[in-house]
């Protein structure tokens, strides 16, 4: 597979030597440049010195928590961060995503999945946000005219449905937490319990977009966390 991101510099912050080794070998095989850090403080230092294009950050670190590392990096850098977690704790993932992580991968993970996430995150940076039309196969979103076309036919979306779709599509490939969606679509004033309205709107959007809403092709649910707009390309 040709890789447009070849040569990108990736910083791995993980205390497990075996995971680091696995990541290093595999990512290097895919022609990425790899830097490593085995602890949080060291990772922050590395991030500021080696200017990576992407960071793979383990949340469980021996000295300071991965969350702290993320927050401190976010103080001065918008470098994409993919968080590595052990599966169980949804709130950790949500907290990391809400604090500016771009994506998460759970341990144990398939290498293909991690590579795909890395590619999405890297491309997202490269892509300028000012593209007026977003295209995803048969789905076309015209941001300038606020119109959506599927199979060449214009979809009738309510303003809320459109905003929701826009926010999701602009971060295509990345997971967006429910909180982020609520914040970006409905503004700052929302409540934890409002998340069920979000579900209702996602349901409506799926009915209009998806052929089979139980087998969604565009908007997939990340259970307990949020949604991800699939960009299949």
């Amino acid at each position: 597979m040709t890789n447009p991101d070849n040569g990108a510099r990736i910083l791995i912050i993980d205390d497990e030597p075996q995971i680091r080794k696995l990541l290093k070998v595999t990512l290097q095989a895919h022609r990425f440049d790899i830097f490593e850090a085995s602890a949080g403080e060291e990772g922050i230092l590395q991030a500021s010195v080696s200017h990576p294009d992407l960071i793979v950050l383990d949340l469980g670190l021996p000295d300071i928590s991965g969350m702290d590392v993320l927050l401190r990096i976010r103080e001065w850098s918008s470098v994409p961060v993919i968080v590595l977690t052990a599966k169980e704790r949804e709130e950790d993932k949500i907290a990391a995503l809400d604090s500016g992580a771009d994506d998460y991968v759970t341990k144990p993970f398939g290498m293909g999945e991690l590579l795909a996430r890395i590619r999405v995150a890297l491309r997202h940076v490269a892509k300028s946000a000012n593209e007026p039309v977003l295209e995803f196969g048969e789905l076309k979103i015209d941001l300038a005219h606020r119109s959506v076309e599927l199979h060449g036919e214009r979809l009738k979306l309510t303003p809320t449905e459109y905003d929701l779709l826009k926010v999701l599509a602009l971060s295509a490939g990345k997971v967006i937490t429910q909180r982020q969606l609520l914040q970006q679509v409905w503004g700052g004033h929302h409540h934890e319990s409002d998340s069920h309205y979000l579900r209702v709107y996602i349901g409506h959007l799926r009915k209009k977009l998806e052929e089979d809403p139980t087998r969604p092709k565009f908007i997939v649910t990340e259970p307990g966390i949020g949604y991800r707009f699939l960009s299949r390309d």
Binding site: K87, E88, E90, P108, R146, K156, L157, T158, P159, T160, Y162, W186, S195, H196, Y197, R199, V200, Y201, I202, G203, H204, P213, T214, R215, P216, V220, T221, P223, G224
Partner: protein, 555 residues
């Protein structure tokens, strides 16, 4: 009136009558409260009545006195004596006899209107009169007393019976003891408490009747209770031991063992406890001891059962883990060492196959570990529900995505109602449960077969059914497959730990629902998860309509 006198007379003995009478009046040992309530130490009214009756009799008889034989008059004077014996008791009957003799003597024995007796033979009549009066009086009084005793006993027996019936229905030791103390304090109208030994064999106040105050003497009370507990004998006021204390202590004992002590608080100035109350207390103590013994045995049986269960579980866990973990480990280690050592021997295809074996083995181990962790969390109560509104359609979508690689050529159909129900539940757990159920259906049904997921909702429940056309289950297995580590007989050859469905059951129950297996009409099994719809979801039409959150004109 009569009752009050009965009260006094039946209890009174030769010594200290008024004090005991006083005690009984206030303590109301009498089973019936009305008796207790109206009784008094010494009632004048029967004597007044007798005096009035004899006065009336004398006034009526006096005009005819000279025509009647004095013997007949004497016989008429026996009537008040008999009446007072029957209704009053021994005291009033003697009084009636004495007054009768005096009246007879004064008005009817010559010389009239004088106590002087002209004919000394009358003295014999007087003596006979008094003897008859005394005898009938005491007989009647004793009869009454016996009647009262048997009534009291009957009441005691009835209350013992009632208590024993109540006790046999109680399965919790604290409510049992609370019941006993309440009952005792109701029956004896005093404060009652029960001391039981704790795990260090120290006696502790375990239950007390409402209003029981420990004030000031709890230390001495505990000391006496300890003595009673150690010696298995009653102590306190009225017994042979420690008669100076203000309480009465009964051991709760069965044939072979003392379980605790029942303590009754008495008023300072009151006297000893009467024998029948004491017997009642001892009977109550015995009853309570038997009930405690029963509960202890039940508890021991439960613990024994539990430890047997956990023993069984440990064995199952070890078997399962050793088999289920070692098999994939063997694959992984074997394939990996093969690849390392014989790098040059393998063709690219072989290499790929070995690598796939490593991946599959690791995935299988990961599933097992996840299941074991899930079970541990469920069992330890660490699994906290993070309830949110869940869209079943969404959850089913996630489940379908999860099993996509695993389902091979099986076709999974989904049938949803018009309005997909919205549930308040933990999305992640519900999804995990459904993934387990659907994976199970896939695992135990042949390739190219069909699996149908359907959702039905009524007022109270949402039912999610997963129907497969696999091998099916025997009737006995249908219940047991939800037990930990249980594998159905027909499917033992398919690898698995028997944890998945147990976890499903745990999750369903956490949500207040159930999971069950029925045979499918076309062969195979239908797994049905029934989850309760709560009030809110039914009352919240906006969830189904989704139209009232903000502006929603199509744009």
């Amino acid at each position: 009136m009569e009752r009050s006198r009965n009260g006094k007379h039946t209890i009174i003995s030769k010594r200290g009558r008024s004090r005991i009478g006083e005690w009984f009046r206030r303590k109301a040992v009498f089973v019936r409260e009305d008796e207790a309530g109206t009784s008094s130490i010494f009632s004048w009214s029967p004597y007044v009545w007798i005096t009035a009756l004899i006065g009336l009799l004398t006034a009526v008889l006096h005009p005819f006195g000279l025509f009647l034989d004095p013997v007949n008059i004497a016989l008429i004077y026996l009537i008040p004596v008999l009446l007072s014996a029957a209704y009053g008791g021994i005291g009033p009957s003697f009084y009636a006899a004495l007054l009768g003799v005096l009246a007879f003597d004064f008005f009817f024995v010559p010389p009239f209107l004088s106590f002087t007796v002209a004919d000394l033979r009358y003295l014999i009549s007087f003596a006979v009169f008094l003897a008859v009066a005394g005898l009938t009086g005491s007989l009647a009084a004793r009869l009454k007393q016996q009647l009262r005793f048997s009534k009291q006993r009957e009441a005691h027996t009835a209350s013992l019976y009632e208590l024993s019936r109540q006790m046999s229905a109680i399965t919790d030791i604290h409510s049992l003891l609370a019941n006993v103390t309440r009952k005792v304090s109701e029956m004896i109208q005093t404060q009652a408490a029960i001391y039981l030994p704790d795990e260090h064999d120290e006696l502790r106040l375990t239950a007390a009747s409402p209003g029981h105050s420990d004030g000031g003497q709890s230390e001495s009370e505990r000391m006496i209770a300890k003595w009673v507990f150690q010696h298995g004998e009653a102590a306190g006021k009225g017994s042979g031991v420690l008669r100076e204390t203000s309480g009465f202590y009964v051991p709760l004992r069965t044939e072979d063992r003392v379980y605790g002590v029942l303590a009754i608080k008495l008023e300072k100035e009151s006297g000893a406890i009467p024998p029948d109350t004491r017997r009642l207390l001892e009977a109550l103590g015995g009853l309570a001891a038997i009930a405690i013994a029963r509960l202890k045995l039940t508890e021991e049986a439960r613990i024994a059962h539990l430890s047997a269960e956990s023993e069984k579980l440990r064995t199952a866990l070890l078997d399962s883990v050793s088999h289920e973990l070692r098999t994939p480990l063997a694959t992984i280690i074997g394939s990996a060492t093969g690849l390392i050592e014989g790098d040059k021997l393998f063709s690219p295809e072989d290499r790929l196959e070995l690598l796939a074996a490593i991946r599959d083995g690791a995935l299988r181990m990961n599933r097992l570990v996840a299941n074991l962790l899930g079970m541990v969390k469920l069992e330890s109560g660490m699994l906290q529900l993070r309830k949110k509104w869940c869209d079943l359609e969404d959850i089913i979508g996630v489940v379908l995505a999860q099993v996509k690689d695993f389902q091979q050529h099986r076709e999974i159909n989904v049938k949803l109602p018009e309005r997909v129900p919205v549930l308040l539940g933990d999305e992640v757990l519900l999804e995990q449960m459904l993934v387990n159920v659907v994976s199970n259906s896939i695992k135990y049904s042949p390739d190219y077969s069909r699996i149908a997921i359907s959702v039905k909702a009524d007022e109270d429940n949402v039912e999610i059914s997963v129907a497969d056309s696999g091998v099916g289950l025997s009737a006995a297995d249908r219940e047991r497959i939800f037990e930990k580590f249980y594998r159905a007989g027909r499917t033992k050859h398919i690898p698995g730990t028997g944890l998945g469905l147990a976890i499903c059951k745990g999750i369903a129950e956490l949500h207040g629902g159930t999971i069950s297996a029925q045979p499918n009409v076309e062969g195979g099994t239908v797994m049905t998860i029934a989850l309760p719809q709560n009030e809110e979801s039914r009352r919240n039409p906006s969830l189904q309509e989704g139209r009232n959150y903000n502006d929603d004109e199509p744009g």
